[in-house]
Each structure stands twice: as C-alpha cells, then as structure tokens.
Amino acid sequence: MNLKAETGRDIRRKIYNKLALGMISVLGALAIMPMILIFVYILIEGIPALSLDFFLENPKPLGESGGGMANAIVGTVILVALSCLIGLPVGLGAGIFMAEYSYTKTSKLLRFTSDILTSVPSIIVGLFAYAVVVKPLKAYSAWAGGFALAVIMIPILARTTEEILKLIPHHIREAGLALGIPRWRVTMRIVFAGSFAGILTGIILSVARIAGETAPLLFTAFGNNFGFRGLGQPTASLPVQIYNYALSPYKEWHDQAWAASFILLVMVFIVNLLTRVVFKDQRGES
C-alpha cells in the first residue's frame, strides 16, 4: 500500500485542485469588489455632506444655499409604510395560498403571474400606477407611489413566502390536522408561525428592495420640496431626490445627493440589522 501522492496523476490532480480554488477565490473577490467600492465611495462622499440641517430642513429654493432633505426622508418612510400596508397582506396572503393549496389552478395562475410580474421593469410598473391611480385621481400622490411600490413588492414577497412555507414538511401539517385543529389554524398558527423568522426575512428583503426604487416613483409620487402635505399630495422620496439632484448642474446638490445616498444605504442597512436581531430573539426564546 502506498497512500502518498506520488504518481503523476495524483500530482496533476493536486495542481488542478489548487488552480480551480485560486480561480474561484479571484472570481469571488471580483464579485464582492463592487459592493465594497460602492460602500466606501458613498461613505467618503456622503459623510462630509451630512449636517443636522440635512435631516431637519426641506430643500431651499434654487439659488439659496443650505437646506436639507427632511421631505425626502419622511416621504420615503411614508411611501414604504403605505406599500407595506397594501403589499404585506396581499403578498403574504398569496404566498400562503400558493404554499397551502399548491395544486389548485388558482395557485398555478398566481405563481405564473408572480413570476411575470417580478420580471417586469419597474418603470413599467410606474406607468401602470400612473394609469390606474394618478390619472383617475388627477394628481400625483403618496397613494400612487405606495401602490406602485406595492406592485413591485407583492410578487417578490408572495414567492419568497411560498418557498419558506414549503420548507415546513407536509407531515407537520398532517400532525396539526390529526389533533383536530381546523385547517386555517394549522396554516396560520403552526405553518406560518413556525416559519416566522424566515417570513420576516422575506418581508425585510422586499422592503429593502422597494426602498431604493426610483423609476416607479417618478410619475406617481413625483416629489415635492416642501415636505409632507397628505397622502393625496405629491410626495418626495430619497431615490427620486437623489436622481433629481444628481442630474442637476450644482455642486451643492451633488453633495446632498451623496448624503442622501448614504442615508438610504443606512436605512436599508438598519432594516437588515433589525431582522437579524428579531431573528435571534425568536430563536433564543423558543
């Protein structure tokens, strides 16, 4: 017996192994590089532009210096809250339905439309919201923006919810039914509650996704420079404000756009962090 790597084949295999590993490492590094670069760049450009005014002031009229993006920060929170109000029940409901009544025609249809809807460009979702909300109400509004974001959120949330609920094995559902628990309670209190941590992650991811959307808000929520004036009024948002400021020719606005990018990133980051905390809590106590 000789177990040492001595033959030509053994050595060749080792070399290939090293080569493959090396290549994968390089590719992996390339993949994370943009993320790190974006982060660092936004930190460098964004932090110096931050000030208390940035959070507390609305934009100043053209020509005056100073001002902030309080309008956009509040607007984004409102838009995300609105889209959750519409999107969470519908998205979660559709996901639960697809998971629990998997073989029905309705489920197949839901799955098909969700998949199509996920791949529709977000600007088209914006156009759709324009046609069904803005035009009939004859106004840009937070409602329209929230609706557009919800349309983006729903299929993502529905599909992730479905996948997560399907991780609960079928025999767990049967065990619930066999105890004389009504079907919908088995669904809600055993299957849904049992995958709560996963569901929450799905919700957070979809919120993080829509929080940064620009295109669907351009002609729905539109934007304003004076702060929140009601759900039926044009509403500012960070992405749209960044978009407008970045396209402007003014250095000061560019700086504010960087600051806004930084804040948007931090908001998404905090939301992500929150899931982790909740996730840990849930695992810890149960």
Partner: protein
C-alpha cells in the same frame, strides 16, 4: 362482566389515490381497551387504512374513500359530520416524530387544546403535566418546558408527540409504525406506554415488527393487497393462523 364494546366498526372501506385502487373493502372492528395491530407487507395499504379512520386520507390531493366507519355508533363519513370533531376523538401518532417547529415543549403538548380554542393557562398547565406524565416524559423535560420541542432526541420527540395526542384525550389512538425510526430503548419505552394506554384507550397500531405486534396487541389483522386476509386474537394468529397466506407471511416466506 359486561361485553366489550366495539368502538370502531369499519365496513367495506375502499380508498383510491387518483385512479389507483389501494384499499379493496376491508372491514374490521376495534374494541374498547384493546390494542389492534395491523401487519402486512410493504405497500399493502396499512397506512392508507388507518388514515381513513381519522379522515386524513382525503387530505391528499386526488384521494377518495368509500365505505363506513362507525365510531361509537356514528358514521364518521356521514355528510353532516365535521372532520375536526372526528379528529378530536381519533388521534394519531406518526412514523416520524414531528414536533411543531418553533414551539416549546409546553406549546407542543398544549397545541391541540390551544388551537381548538382553550385558553385558560392553569387548565393547560395541568393537562400538559398529566399528558407528559402519561407519556413518561415528564421527569426528563419538567425543567425545560420552554425549550424547543425539536431540540429533544428522536425517542423523546416521539413521546412528546404521544403526549400531544394524549392532551386532546381521544378515545382512539392510531399509530403508524411509531417506533420504526427509534432506537431499541426508546422502542421499548413506547411499547410499554402502549400497553398502559390500553386501560383507557383503543389503540390501532401499524407495525412491521411482528415481535412487537405479538408483545403488545390483543388482536392482529393481516393485510395483503388492500384487503384484510385474517383478523384474530394475536396469540391465535401468530401460533395457529387459519389462512395459508398469513402463515407464509408470519413465517417470513414473503413480504
């Protein structure tokens, strides 16, 4: 002495998965305070059969049942019957231990009651304790009722599932190979429990282990290709079977 009462009268059960005709009219009685063992080769329909007794079979998409099962004089397949009420009376322990994920030991055992709408904490605590004691798990878990049920060992999980079923207090308990995923010591514990349960419950148990059937059951039914070939006192069926096919099976010549 009063006559033993037939708690379950199962008549002419036919069951299908889609077009596949799996049960071809078996009939059986199960008496109070009796352990009835179902044996037979793999795929002969034992699981399907006991799943018709708590109406779980019909939950499978495309599955169908015909025939009657009288529980305490009432046909559970009557159109007006609510399956939820059937399952409260006829409990089930599965082959694989399946505690509810994300629920503590306490919540697992009380799940049936809680989700049927019973809220009173003192009542729940009382039933959780007595059920865990009946399932011989209390001493092992009494200090960790808030820990997750899925954190227990396989054998403990199966006793947890038994406790969960007992908490609802169904007169009939169905068991589908409850020990086939367990080690010998856990198996012995569960067998001991089943023999104790006989005092208060009717137990219908599917098993592939003929020694187990011989040890714990009063009656045994031998299934073959969706039919009951022979149903008799366990002692007689194993020592002096009246059907040639039963004899061949229990002597290990096929299956």
């Amino acid at each position: 002495m009063s006559e033993p009462k037939a708690l379950l009268k199962i008549r002419d059960i036919n069951a299908w998965f889609g077009d596949k005709h799996v049960l071809k009219g078996p009939s059986l009685d199960a008496y109070e305070n009796e352990v009835l063992a179902l044996i037979g080769p793999s795929g002969c329909g034992k699981s399907t059969f006991i799943r018709t007794i708590n109406r779980l079979h019909e939950e499978v998409p495309g599955a169908r049942v015909s025939g009657t099962i009288e529980f305490d004089g009432e046909n559970i397949y009557d159109p007006g019957v609510d399956v939820v009420n059937v399952r409260k009376k006829i409990g089930m322990v599965f082959q694989k231990p399946n505690p509810f994920p994300g629920m503590s030991i306490f919540d697992n055992v009380s799940a049936g009651l809680r989700l049927q709408g019973i809220r009173r904490r003192s009542k729940l605590s009382e039933i959780v304790e007595s059920s865990l004691k009946k399932a011989a798990l209390w001493d092992e878990v009494k200090d960790q009722l808030n820990k997750p049920g899925v954190g227990l060992s396989g054998g403990q999980q199966q006793r947890l599932c038994l406790a969960r079923t007992l908490a609802v207090d169904p007169p009939v308990i169905l068991m589908d190979e409850p020990t086939s995923a367990l080690d010998p010591i856990s198996t012995a514990k569960i067998e001991e429990l089943i023999m104790e349960l006989k005092a208060d419950y009717t137990v219908v148990i599917v098993t592939h282990n003929m020694q187990q059937a011989a040890r714990i059951s009063n009656k045994t039914a031998f299934f073959l290709l969706g039919e009951v070939i022979e149903h008799d006192k366990t002692s007689r069926l194993f020592t002096n079977p009246s059907d040639k096919r039963t004899e061949e099976y229990i002597t290990g010549r096929f299956g």
